[in-house]
Chain length 351, copies 2
């Protein structure tokens, strides 16, 4: 548990007041650890950062073609969406095509992340339904996969269900691990989730972004997923969300997927750091879970800034997410600031 | 910034998912460091944990008698209250006695911490006024102090204002520090706040709880403050708040005052650990600020449990605050748990 080092500080006046700890791993698609901060072997859960891999066996098996899914729908299957009406409509469309209904979803319910939508529902006395849940796309994909392979649609979140077994095996392969090396836990949405070393998850992201060494069907599925996510970033997150903003700026070269409890995965596609640059998988964890919701995006921006993945204009466009931000008090006076505190990344020299 | 060690872990399945870091210091009233975890010399802000000391010079100068303040009003001056109608009425009463008004308060505004009150105001389209601010009692006390010593009531939060200078000097003395050794910052409520080593703040809490070695006027003021806080714990916090619950159970022997950003001060009065036990000051910081609002109270309960300050019945009554709690997902399934991870306290043997 002391695998973590200080990654983000918050000051008041001239004094550091608070410190978030974390660990970072950056790998290429051969599993070379190019840079790390804290212990890259720290084992923790990917949470929603796993979503592209939870979609992968379905896409690899031909699910997109089988059900005639659009790229927007594919993006939603990889999403932690904001629960807007648009997101709900896309989830419902996947369900129609797959011959399932919202009632089949076992994700539970929570108010939409999108504040305006949440307030509108509340004012109307409308309870959020499962399609508003940020994971409804993922669950719709799992149900579609169950349909496609003739598995039961009931209890599809059971770790022994064929869909979950296929997901586990595919995810483990992407990480370069045996399934038995992947620790399981139950996610917020009741689906199985995976804990692996940060470096293994970084490898999985690097392979997702440059799958050229993978078997052709797997490689094609990876490309379909990253193409969908980067073409429809508003499906993967929502208005004002970091993943959405970053992928919009990334010109198809950056895949970004946050997970709960301060986890973040970012994949750089070949060429993202300039002509001929290799794919990179960047994975980090804010150890405390970042309930403040400030440290993770700031650390992400700082990593990308240090790697040279973002130019000045892109950094300006992301400035509300970090890397530095002012801290204001109840009278709107600036009383301090927040900023990343990890050392200069030297991975750039190695790529 | 690596002064912190893991203090609280959250699991998912069998795997630790998230870790809060922190540091703890326990001192007696002679400044002996009886136990520590992490670096007891970690310097950070007390935030609202400083409130009893911000009230101290006012009480010591005879402010309570001068304005005919009740113990409930004195408790509110030391409070981070929940902004209920009752809290607002007590703040207004202090203001009437001091000849100031709510309009003189420079704390700014925020929705009341008390959820029902916040929702009621919102439904009525009523904007929260400064008296709803958790610090309105403290600010009322500062204004009363300014009145009493003939200082201006405008700009009373300026660090050079006589009231703030008296507070700084008194706080520094309680910490066994020179005023120049106290780092300043602006609090959420715009008043000056203080950063000192954890062990210095722990000494200040131990002296507050056993002021017998302090000059008589200071000692009497300390006793007046701890008596007011422990007699009216609902004034110091509010419904469902940890400080309130703990002081209610403490039978006048435990003073508890949280601060923002994961800071906590607890003072044990003589005899709290059994007949003849000395006063203890317990101070700790959750490094990341504990925005989740789970780790701090759980760590506090665990420290008191290990010290033997709480019996089984008291621990049962505090069980919703910790030390362990289950983690549930959106479908109310238990998916993990949270628990303190610091080593056994050996201070008990030394006291």
């Amino acid at each position: 548990m002391s695998d973590y080092l200080p990654v983000f500080a918050l000051t008041r006046g001239e004094t550091v007041e608070s410190v978030h700890f974390g660990a970072i791993a950056i790998c290429d698609n051969r599993g070379n650890l190019l840079w790390h901060y804290g212990n890259p072997d720290t084992i923790t859960f990917l949470r929603s950062t796993a979503k592209p891999f939870q979609a992968l066996p379905f896409v690899e098996a031909g699910g997109v073609e089988h059900f005639g899914l659009t790229a927007r729908e594919t993006a939603l299957i990889c999403a932690s969406h904001s629960g807007t009406d648009e997101h709900v409509a896309v989830a419902a469309s996947i369900q129609r095509k797959a011959g399932v209904t919202e009632d089949d979803l076992l994700c539970g319910t929570h108010p939409p992340y999108h504040q305006e939508t949440a307030e509108r529902l509340k004012a109307a006395g409308e309870e959020p339904t499962p399609n508003r849940h940020n994971c409804s796309g993922k669950h719709s994909g799992m149900l579609a996969f169950a349909r496609m392979i003739g598995a039961p649609t009931a209890d599809y979140v059971n770790p022994s269900h064929p869909v979950q077994q296929r997901i586990l095996h595919t995810f483990a392969e992407m990480c370069g691990l045996a399934p038995s090396q992947v620790a399981l836990g139950t996610d917020g949405c009741s689906a199985p989730n995976f804990a692996v070393p940060l470096r293994s998850a970084a490898l999985a992201y690097a392979r997702l972004c440059d799958p050229s060494a993978l078997p052709p069907a797997r490689a094609a599925a990876c490309r379909k997923i990253t193409a969908a996510m980067t073409a429809y970033p508003e499906m993967v997150g929502g208005p004002g969300r970091f993943d959405t903003a970053l992928m919009r700026l990334g010109g198809g070269k950056i895949v970004s997927k946050a997970g709960a409890e301060g986890y973040q995965g970012i994949g750089l596609l070949p060429g993202a750091l300039g002509s001929g640059s290799p794919a990179l998988g960047i994975v980090f964890k804010i150890s405390d879970g970042d309930a403040r919701k400030k440290a993770r995006s700031a650390v992400a921006v700082e990593i990308l800034r240090q790697l040279g993945a973002l130019d000045e204009t892109q950094l300006q466009a992301l400035a509300s997410f970090g890397p530095r931000f002012p801290i204001h008090n109840w009278r709107k006076l600036q009383v301090g600031e927040g900023y990343p505190v990890f050392a200069e990344i030297d991975a750039r020299e190695q790529v």
